[in-house]
Symmetry: C2
Subunit: 146 residues, 2 copies
């Protein structure tokens, strides 16, 4: 199971320390770019009209551990109960607002919280019919709401 | 960028032809299992209490094409404007309802639409604060609503 970058993300966050806890914490949320390489750009046909997208990206090599202590927390949690970048397959996921194309293969998006130049893996249209669960309960994170 | 299976999914769908168009189309949605291998099971600590999860899984080798004609459609669409399994990195994503653990590493979930024995890549807690966009617009899919 081997991945290939389809492009990269451009964000204002140069280092991990610059990244906000989540992409909606900054107000206003900064404009970011998802840049798709020319050979994958025909895959963007008909993407205009979706107000939101799901972006998957590569978080880089991570420690081989399945529990972590989040920075805002005082207990060890299983990585699958967190959105930490530390996980067996370091794939990051953000639901982003999509404001249209700024030239070929250049998608204007908001709500990213990852480092500048993060490799992009996939773009999926956000479908409220299957992806929106506004009443979902947040487990242990409810008490640590960002 | 190399992935490893952390487990597999158990669904009632033996073949691609058996899979519903989306995991909420069957009513009632069948119970499925996300099975996590023993060495990754400590990563599940504190997962109980989340009502919904995001599962990422491997859709297997796919044709190398960036446009497809969906089965319910009469036009060619860019793969990034669809949820088709045909995409450069064949990672599937489902938002599932989580009903708790049925033994160690066995998560009871609903709303999967993938084949039985699909390799599981990641489990993330669903956070309504960053993942729910109930008012999102669906672009070309609005007219083809499942």
């Amino acid at each position: 199971m081997i991945l290939q970058a389809i492009g990269h993300l451009e964000t204002p966050f140069a280092t991990i320390a610059d990244c906000p806890r989540n992409g909606r914490r900054l107000d206003p949320a900064p404009e970011c770019l998802a840049v798709v390489e020319p050979r994958f750009q025909p895959g963007l046909a008909w993407i205009e009209g979706f107000s939101h997208l799901i972006l998957l990206y590569w978080l880089g090599p991570q420690p081989e551990q399945v529990t972590i202590r989040p920075p805002f927390d005082d207990r060890e949690r299983g990585v699958f109960a967190t959105r930490s970048p530390v996980r067996p397959n370091p794939i990051g996921l953000s639901v982003v607002a999509f404001a249209g194309l700024d030239g070929p293969g250049r998608l204007l998006v908001r709500y990213l919280d990852c480092r500048n130049r993060t490799p992009l893996l996939d773009i999926k249209p956000y479908l409220p019919t299957t992806d929106a669960e506004p009443g979902a309960s947040m487990g242990w994170l409810a008490a640590k709401r960002a």
